[in-house]
Structures are given as C-alpha cells and as structure tokens.
C-alpha cells in the first residue's frame, strides 16, 4: 500500500506544481513594442471551427484568411505585412477566455477579431478590454459585449437595431398586420424577437404567437400546424440556417402559404439555400450583405470569396472580412499600436466595405450602416430593399 500512496501524492504534487507554475509564469507576459518597421503585424482571431457551429467557423476562417491575403497584396500596413493568429474555440466560453489570454499575453497581437457566437465573445471581451487591445466582434449580437469599455467594437447590427429593422420591413414593405414569431432560444433569437415585437406593436401590429426552440431543433410541424390555425400575415423567424431551412421546408409541405421574414441568421448560401431548396423562394431577410451592390468592395469580396471557397459568401463571412478591412484602415491612417488602432476605429467615417458604407462607430463601439433587405429568388439572394432611415439603423449608445 505504501507505493500506492506515494504515487498518488506524486500526482497531486505534479498537478499542483503545474498550477503553481501558472502563478509564477507572470513575468513572461512581455508586451513587445510592435513598432520595429519590418516585423509583421499580428491580428488575433477566434472562431468555432469545431463543435456545433463548425459551418460558421469554416466560413469566417476562410474570410479571415482572404482578408489578410488581400491586405498584404495591397501593400500591407504602410509596408508591413499582417499575420493572422487564428484559434478554434469549440464554441466554449472557457476556451474563448484562454484564447483571449493567449492572444493578449503570449502572441503579442495588436488587435483581434471574434468570428464566434455571443456567449464566447461575451466571455472574451473583458479580457481584451483589460489588456487594452481592440477587438471587433464580427457577428455576435449580445448587447453586453460592447458595454465593457472603449476597446470592444461590433461590426454587425446590434440585435435591437436589426429587430427594429425587421419590424420596419414587416410593416412598410410586407404590409403585415399580424405576425407569428419563431425564434431560436438564445441571445440572438431573443433579442431580435423582443425588439421586433416592440417596434411592430408600436406601429399597431399584433403578435399572435411566439414560440422558441433550441439551435438543434428539426421538427416544426407541431408548431407550424398551430400557426396555420392562427392565420397571421407573416412569420418572423430570427434563427439560424439549420432550423430556418426546416421551417421553410415544413411550411411548404403543410401548405402554409404565409410570407416569411428571416434575419442575417439564415443568410447562408450552403446551409440555408441548398437545404431549403425551392421552398426558400420568396423568403425575405434583413442582413448586411447586398449581393447587387454597386460598391467595388462588395463585388470584389463576392468574387474573391467565391473563387477561394468554391461557394458564394454568406453574411458571417462578409462581416468578418470587414472587421479586418476596418482594422487595416485604422492602422493605415492612425498607426498600428493598440491604442492608436482603437482611436483609428472611432475616427472611421463613410468607409467603403463589403457590407456597404460604414458610416462610423458610436461611443459604445456599435457600427452604423444601412440594413440590407434581400429576397430569395431562384435559389439565390437578391436585392429587395435597403433601410436608410436613421431612426432604425442608429444603434443605441448606452
């Protein structure tokens, strides 16, 4: 028995030693001044490459690589190359936290982009804030993400703005008076559904039902059967591609015949358009990528991405790509140190990006740009409208 205890004690000591090494490892976090002229500028990046959101992880990783390639091809940042430091967070907040620590204290990045969902981004944001390294969240919607301080920005519409935009489309473009809401039960679906309801009801509309479901739900016949009886003018569905495609298919099979309005969550060429097939025709979405835009930045992005990925880009890819473009712009104009990048981002005005003209960032770090309205036609997204109304697109600043 003696040896048994010794072995177990040894393991405890080794394990604790490993932990305590963490305590001691404090001195190693050197923040190198990244100013030496020719060294590459490092930009951190994390995305859910593995796990349940791997499809989005794949899109955004491709977009990040494409963006860095593009920046370097067009002369880098005043002659310096950009290097991407990319990690997989497995859609786990705990991993996002250790990645954020690694990026800020080990890898010496000057800025970072989150290509991940809300709860991971929300957990990582304070670490970037404390390290005073700017981070842009590509498409995470949680309202709290930008509230921690100056260094965290968002490239996509904050949930409240997009929900309002959805209601605007419902009232003014689709002329709906009654609506049934089907939202995915996380911060994305909830925030959008709440802000949609608020605006829609203030314009005299009526929400006849609201049902929620998890990200992995596949069976919507029960709830669609119920909605069929209620005969709403419109179904609003703030959800993702997997669930959105099933709603579209099953609504068609049930012969529902009700107009559907989606969000950027189903702005996915592979997962939504292909799986839903012909049943997606006529669905309208609010998003930030206008496929028929005249902007050079947009058309170049669509062309380059399609060539690289062998499929048309989706919203998460466009948004991620733009994060890097905004960082590059800020670095070129204002300098490539974290604090200067932060100030540079606040100074951005009317910048031409893949997701349209970025009017600027407010003091919270929320972007202002036009909301795009697209419709599915013959298996592709096409122009349906654009919301320029300042009351709708201006993000809240507290």
């Amino acid at each position: 028995m003696k040896s048994r205890f010794s072995l177990s004690l040894l393991i405890l000591i080794l394990s604790l030693g490993l932990m305590l090494a963490g305590c001691g490892g404090g001195g190693g976090g050197d923040k190198k001044p990244a100013a030496e002229n020719k060294t590459p500028i490092k930009i951190g990046f994390f995305a859910p490459v593995t796990g349940p959101a791997a499809a989005d992880g794949d899109s955004v990783t491709k977009a990040a690589k494409l963006a860095v390639e593009k920046i370097n091809k067009t002369g880098g940042i005043n002659g310096r190359q950009v290097e991407l430091v990319a990690y997989d967070d497995n859609l786990k907040p705990q991993e996002a936290v250790s990645i954020a620590q690694k990026l800020t204290t080990k890898d010496g990045v000057v800025a970072a982009v989150s290509g991940s969902y809300s709860h991971t981004t929300r957990a990582a944001a304070p670490i970037f804030e404390n390290a005073k390294i700017p981070m842009i969240a590509a498409y995470a919607l949680h309202p709290d993400i930008t509230k921690g301080g100056d260094y965290v920005f968002r490239q996509s519409f904050v949930g409240t703005a997009q929900g309002k935009a959805g209601a605007f489309v419902a009232v003014n473009m689709l002329k709906a008076k009654t609506v049934a809401i089907l939202n995915v039960d996380n911060d994305f679906g909830t925030t959008l559904a709440d802000s949609f309801t608020k605006y829609f009801e203030s314009k005299g509309g009526k929400v006849v039902s609201r049902d929620k479901f998890t990200m992995v739900e596949k069976e919507f016949n029960p709830v669609l059967t119920k909605i069929k009886q209620l005969k709403p003018d419109l179904i609003y569905m703030p959800t993702y591609s997997g669930t959105g495609a099933q709603i579209a298919r099953q609504a068609k099979e049930l012969n529902l015949g009700i107009q559907m309005l989606g969000t950027e969550g189903i702005d996915s060429t592979m997962e939504f358009l292909k799986v839903a097939g012909a049943t997606a025709d006529g669905i309208v979405i609010t998003t930030n990528l206008n496929r028929e835009s005249k902007l050079k930045a947009t058309q170049e992005f669509i062309k380059d991405y399609s060539e690289m990925a062998k499929h048309a880009p989706d919203m998460v890819a466009a948004s991620t790509y733009d994060c890097f473009m905004v960082l590059a712009e800020a670095m070129r104009k204002n300098g490539a140190e974290p604090e200067k990048i932060k100030d540079g981002i606040y100074k951005i005005k009317d910048f031409e990006a893949a997701t349209g003209i970025i009017k600027g960032y407010n003091k919270l770090g929320e972007v202002t740009k036009n909301v795009q309205v697209q419709i599915v036609k013959n298996g592709a997204f096409a122009y349906y409208g654009e919301i320029t109304d300042a009351e709708i697109i201006t993000p809240p600043d507290k």
Partner: protein
Amino acid sequence: MLVQQIINGIVVGSVYALTAMGATLVYGIMRILDISNAGAYAIGAYVAFFFLLQTGSPLVALVTGVALTAVFGFLVQKFLYAPLMNKSPNVSLIAGIGLFIFLQDFLRLVAGPQARELNFGTLLPSIQFPSLQLTLYGTWFLILAATALLLLILWLLLNRSPIGLAWRATAQDLETAKAMGINTNRVVAFNFILGYGFAAVAGILVGILYNSVYPTMGDVPAYKMLAVIVLGGLGNPLGTVLAALVIGMAETLIGGYVGFFLPRDAIAFVVLILILLWRPQGLLGRRRSS
C-alpha cells in the same frame, strides 16, 4: 388540427423508435450504453450521401449506407467493445463517447462542416386534405412503412429464428448461454451488425426527411435514444417502440398546444423521470432480482 398533431407525433415517435433500436439491441446483449451508435447514425447517412452523389441511385445509396455501417459495427465490436466486455460499464461508456467524438470530427474533416442535402428526389408527393386541414408528407409514408417493416423483420428474427433463440438466451444471461453451448461471440457480433445497421437506416431516413446530413447530426440522438431505451425498460425492443411513441407524442402535443414551457429535449427527460418515479423499472422492464 388534433388529427394532424397526432400524426405528427406518430411520425416523430417512429423516428425515435428507429433511432433507439440499434442501441437497444446492443444494450440487450452487452449491457452497455452505446453512444457510438449515434456516430453510426451519422456515418450511415454520410455513406448514403456519398453514394447518392456518385451513382445517383437512391437504392445503391441506401444499401451501401446500411451495409457499410453494419460492417463498421462488426469492427467496433471486435476491436473495441469485445475486449472491454468484462470491465466496468463506465469504461465502455467512455470508450463509446470517445469514438463518437472522433467519428463526428472525422466526418467534419472529410465532408466539410456544412449541412448537405440528402435529396432522394420526391419519392412520394404530399397529400393535402383541405377540408380536414390535413397534410400528409410523402416522406412520412416512407418512414412509417420502413419502421413497421423493419420492426416486423426484427420481431421475426428474434422470435422465429434459431439465431433469435440464441440472441434471447444470450440476452438473458451470457455466461449460462455460453455454458449451454451457444456461440455467444457470434451472437454478439450479429447483434452489433444488426444494431449498427438499424442506426444507419435511421440516419438515412432522418436525412431524407429533413433533406440534410451534417457532422453533428448524431448529437441529439446520442442522448435522446438513451431516454427512449431507459423508458422502454432497457434492452427491450418492444418497450423501446412504446417509449419512443410516448416521448414523440408528448413532445408534439406539448409543443402544439401548451407551447414549449421547457426545451423539447428537457421534456423527454421530464417524461422519463416522472415515469421512473412511478415505475423504477421502466415501461416494459422487468424488475431484475439482484
């Protein structure tokens, strides 16, 4: 509306029954909760997807999907589970979970993370009854027919064939069966081939129903099939069918009438816990004397 919801519930229940049958068979003999069966579910769907893409023939896709997954089941049994048979059930459980994680990521790396469409074409058109406000999907008939047919075959196999007799004897008590001269190794191997074949059929049919296959498609079945087989009394095929229908119906009716007061998956487990409080041995399980 009620008729429509009841039909919805039966279809969902049938899907669960098919999905859980593989793991039920494996449990019946091995007394292990085989999570990797949910990996086989995804593998079957992906093999079918691949062969459909290559040959364009739904029949070839279906047959190869089931056959290759069954072979895979045989290999898993031979190289992973058989050597662990006398170890604690926790060991097989974790090994199965490890294999499941491995398979999921293998599929992601080989086939890409995106959901792909598993389009067998319109096999049967939907039928509408406007006066009754009723819709019957073509695919539903396929699912119901396949479930009924496969369960019938399974019943005949287990109750009316020599191998079924050996199966039942082994399920009762493996050691005694061995002592009585039954080749239990063969029964175990047969059991896995059957169990993984069932998983593949389920994966393919669900793939067709929702027109999509994706690497993490086994995630939900991995735990939901456990709820179903436990509720059915563990390892009792008939119990599994009954439990699947109970859970499918409960989810559908609650979803349609009450609204989801809890996520769908939690509802399945609430049903399970309530029934276990009432019948600790499951719906059709017999109290095992210790």
